[in-house]
């Protein structure tokens, strides 16, 4: 089981630039089991677990409310999705002796329409814009996505943010592992 860290920046060489938030949800980071991934192990599907979430903002400080959530969604499929990082998944290793992940991952996808069929919201938090938040799961209590393809549905987790007042960018970092 290798561990990975994905922040919603382009520093590791992939993904889209951070998107300004609006009153509708924007996906900051998404990760899914999908045959669209497979940079290192072909089309093998693997179960994954998010065990650490860190969130905040990096715009001009002010007092606004921001909503962050994690949704269970169908991610991938037959359309081109902006922000894919799977081709350089080895850049996101925590232990560099491991191999890259086979999941299909997105950073700051601007195509919300390609994250479809929301089937659950296992994590939600409302925050002041100036606040930062961290959640760490104990082993066995992680957010899990199944090893299924997007054709079956519910194959991934998308971490999103929105705000009725704040129009800057938000930061997010997730740590996850593949089984």
């Amino acid at each position: 089981m290798a561990n990975y860290s994905i922040a919603n920046t382009t520093a590791a060489g992939a993904g889209q630039a951070q998107q300004n938030l609006t009153s509708t949800y924007k996906t900051l980071v998404a990760v899914a089991a999908s045959t669209l991934g497979g940079a290192t192990v072909g089309s093998q599907l693997r179960r994954g677990k998010i065990y650490d979430i860190l969130i905040g903002t990096n715009g001009t400080p002010a007092d606004n409310v921001l909503e962050f959530d994690v949704i269970r969604a169908t991610i991938g499929a037959t359309v081109t999705v902006a922000g894919s990082i799977s081709s350089v998944s080895s850049n996101y290793l925590i232990d560099t002796a491991d191999t890259g992940f086979v999941a299909y991952a997105l950073i700051n996808s601007s195509n919300e329409g390609n994250i479809t069929a929301v089937s659950g919201e296992p994590w939600y938090e409302g925050l002041n814009q100036r606040a930062t938040y961290r959640w760490v799961a104990n082993p066995g209590s992680e957010l899990v996505y199944p090893a299924v393809s997007s054709a079956t549905g519910g194959n991934g987790l998308a971490l999103r943010a929105r705000s009725p007042g704040y129009t800057g960018t938000a930061t997010r970092n997730i740590l996850f592992q593949e089984q």
Binding site: S141, P146, A151
Partner: protein, 87 residues
């Protein structure tokens, strides 16, 4: 909370740090912040799988999330076997 499923903290404006234990529902995988001591808000304990569950799962039967994952994966394997001949 003993044997919590996780831990969350918020660093609010003004340097106030607020911390909670969390638990993850064994039936739907939802993360619950243990913000108060009202049991109605934080869910309960499933007496069949003996794991903490969220408020939304209190009135439902016991289907552990692990079982739901296995069913989804079995369905996907079956679908892929029809398309790709077992790959």
């Amino acid at each position: 909370m003993t044997r919590a499923g996780g831990y969350a903290c918020i660093f609010d404006p003004g340097g106030v740090r607020t911390e909670w234990d969390t638990h993850t529902c064994a039936h739907c995988n939802t993360v619950i912040h243990m913000r108060n001591k009202k049991l109605d808000d934080i869910g309960g304990l499933c007496r069949q799988c003996m794991k903490p569950i969220c408020r939304g799962c209190l009135d439902n039967g016991c289907t552990p999330f692990e079982r739901k994952l296995e069913m989804m994966e079995a369905r996907d394997r079956f679908r892929r076997s029809l398309i790709y001949g077992g790959s």
